[in-house]
């Protein structure tokens, strides 16, 4: 079975989720739980750092799709950063770059949130 874990940190109003391992149909619900938890506690500025994510499947991408509109309606966003080329390729193939803010580095994404406040 795939291994997956999430570590969390916070920088001012921005919550950063660091994903580790493999995000697939099996582990997608873990990420969903984490995002729901943030939304429940009214944290809408979310950065997801992919630097230690080795693999992502469509179901993993689906989690982002499921909440992006709601988050944006609430004035927040999910920004995606530090993707390995293999992971970025999946996002790119499925056309995510047109819908998502995908940036190179975590701090760049954090800065974007803070500067627009």
């Amino acid at each position: 079975m795939s291994t997956f874990s999430i570590s969390k940190k916070q920088q001012e109003s921005v919550h950063i989720l660091q994903l580790h391992g493999e995000l697939d149909a099996h582990t997608a619900p873990d990420l969903e739980q984490e995002i729901l938890k943030l939304m429940d506690s009214k944290c809408y500025n979310i950065v997801v750092n992919f630097s230690t994510l080795d693999y992502i499947s469509s179901a993993g991408l689906g989690v982002f799709m499921a909440y992006i509109e709601e988050l944006r309606d609430l004035g927040g966003d999910i920004k995606l950063t530090d993707m390995k080329p293999s992971v970025y390729n999946v996002f790119d193939l499925l056309g995510f770059p047109t819908l998502y803010d995908i940036v190179d580095a975590e701090q760049q994404a954090v800065a974007k949130f803070i500067n627009t406040e």
């Binding site: 149909a25 619900p29 969903e32 499947s57 993993g60 689906g62 989690v63 999946v90 047109t98």
Partner: protein, 549 residues
């Protein structure tokens, strides 16, 4: 540098700039032909022209000539679209490789309408040859890239299907499964509103819906499940349900396995990309996987439910067994034999034998219409009443009327009970009885050496409230007398010719065997019935036999 560049725009732009600069041409354009779409397209344009970059037309593309290295405007006039003719080009240089026609470089006369010299035209001809190679290469690279990307997309789709099927195989929890399905639709296809409709317990049911509001009525759901095409766009439906249009459902995809159908409804994609045929194929595959796995969970639940029911039934059977007298009471100079074989786990037949006030023996036999749990509930109800009433030593006829009134209130209109009960005064041997619509028990009268039927009584219990009082019959149970009470499981047992065993056979068996013990008579009758119907009783079988010593 040009030859190495694979950037089509860069190449086209350069070609135009070189030509325009070198020959001082105020208007120039590159027209590209596309054999697949059969169109001629303005690739790059410079100068004041009646069309802009990206415009395209549909002349007979395959007939556009490209044998020569230069055509005059007049030579091509009949074959080019009017708007191109009107642009004021004077020379058309075919851009071509040895095997294919890529398009034309079109130029006007020099500024001030001056003619181009032959050396100049020759230079352009040569230039176009060089550019043709570069352009052809860049097209090839472009095609390779897009083929590569298509391949990558296919690989990604396969990975997704693999991922999902692996996940579905290990899951038994339906809600988890539906979550994976939901995420995959959103992640792979960018679909934000969708539903999956399938039959559950023969009823159309939305097993999953996301982003849609409201409900579709049952008739529309059933109709959807009968759709004949693999894919249908909702806009092409003549009478689409408002649920579909209101929720912006764009297309319906049919998923089929054996005779079962499910329908996946999908909205447009969040990235506004149209659905291609390959996308529909992916959706069908994913839908199929989900459909099968979800069905599997329902079947599993059904099996668990069935096992639970069976366990409950077996508990019910245990309880019902305690309602039958065990052991049978012992009365001096009287043999009692009884048996009950339910055709299902629990049954609707009832017999009883109980001693009341030391002097009286009550015996009863009853048959509730129907079988299984509903019948057994009524049987338990009747048993309770008999046990409460018997110590009171009330007249049997009146009491039967009261029991009927209660049963009438307790039972739905299609449930009845045929009931016979008797009370033996063990001192005087007086046997009083009342028969409420039950198969009349057969008595062997030792004195007359004949059988007689005990039918005094009235109508079935539970059918109507008591209007006519019940009658009661009585006789003295003499030494050697036998009373055989039975239910229709005995009298109506059928043989292969669909003949019933019949009461006459019981009476006849009794005549033949009255001198035997109650238990022996019982075994003989049961064995005869078993042979007669070849073991297929078809109904609960119950008997109660009294024999006076």
């Amino acid at each position: 540098m040009l030859i190495e560049s694979h950037d089509t725009d860069f190449i086209l732009n350069n070609l135009l700039l070189i030509v325009m600069g070198k020959l001082m041409v105020p208007k120039a354009a590159i027209l590209l032909v596309n054999y697949q779409s059969n169109r001629l397209k303005a690739g790059r344009c410079k100068g004041r022209l009646p069309f802009s970059e990206g415009d395209s037309w549909d002349p007979a593309v395959k007939e556009l000539p490209y044998d020569k290295s230069l055509y005059s405007a007049a030579e091509l006039a009949t074959q080019l679209p009017e708007i191109v003719n009107s642009a004021g080009f004077s020379h058309y240089f075919p851009i071509r490789t040895s095997s294919e026609h890529l398009g034309y470089l079109c130029i006007s006369l020099k500024a001030g309408k001056r003619e181009h010299g032959p050396k100049e035209l020759e230079f352009i001809e040569n230039l176009v040859i060089i550019f043709s190679v570069a352009l052809s290469n860049s097209f090839l690279v472009g095609r390779l890239k897009s083929t590569n990307r298509e391949l990558d997309e296919k690989v990604q789709e396969l990975n997704t299907l693999f991922d999902v099927s692996r996940e579905f195989n290990t899951m038994v929890d339906r809600s988890q499964m539906l979550n994976v399905f939901r995420f995959t639709l959103m992640g792979q296809m960018f679909i934000k509103k969708f539903f999956l409709l399938m039959c559950v317990d023969k009823q159309p049911f939305m097993v999953v819906q996301h982003g849609v509001k409201g409900e579709m009525n049952l008739a529309s759901k059933s109709k959807l499940l009968e759709m004949e095409d693999e894919c249908i766009e909702v806009s092409s439906l003549a009478d689409a349900d408002p649920f579909l249009t209101k929720n912006e459902i764009f297309a319906l995809v049919r998923v089929r396995f054996q005779d079962e159908t499910a329908v996946l409804g999908i909205s447009e994609r969040m990235n506004r990309m149209p659905y291609r045929e390959s996308d529909y194929n992916f959706l069908i595959s994913l839908g199929n996987l989900a459909f099968l796995s979800i069905q599997k969970t329902y079947l599993l639940e059904e099996r668990i439910e069935k096992e639970r029911m069976e366990e409950e039934l077996s508990i019910a059977r245990t309880i019902q067994n305690t309602l039958f007298p065990n052991p049978l009471p012992k009365v001096d100079d009287l043999e009692i034999a009884a048996l009950n074989i339910p055709s299902q786990q629990v049954g609707g037949d009832y017999y009883d034998a109980l001693i009341s006030g030391k002097r009286y023996l009550y015996t009863a036999i009853a048959d509730v219409t129907g079988k299984g749990i509903p019948a057994s509930l009524l049987m338990a109800n009747l048993q309770a009443m008999i046990h409460v009433l018997s110590p009171l030593q009330l007249p049997l006829d009146e009491t039967t009327g009261k029991v009927n009134d209660i049963m009438f209130k307790n039972t739905p209109s299609d449930k009845f009970i045929s009931f016979f009960w008797g009370r033996l005064d063990t001192g005087t041997r007086l046997f009083e009885y009342c028969n409420a619509g039950h198969n009349p028990p057969v008595r062997w009268n030792q004195q007359t050496q004949k059988t007689e039927l005990l039918s005094a009584g009235g109508m079935l219990l539970g059918a109507l409230s008591t209007m006519m009082p019940y009658e009661q019959g009585s006789f003295y149970l003499q030494q050697g007398d036998v009373v055989v009470m039975f239910t229709d499981g005995i009298s109506e047992a059928m043989n292969e010719e669909e003949e019933e065993f019949g009461e006459e056979r019981i009476a006849w068996l009794l005549e033949e065997n009255h001198h035997k013990s109650a238990a022996e008579i019982q075994s003989i009758i049961l064995e005869e019935v078993r042979v007669f119907c070849n073991g297929n009783y078809g109904d609960d079988v119950t008997m109660l036999i009294l024999k006076a010593e």
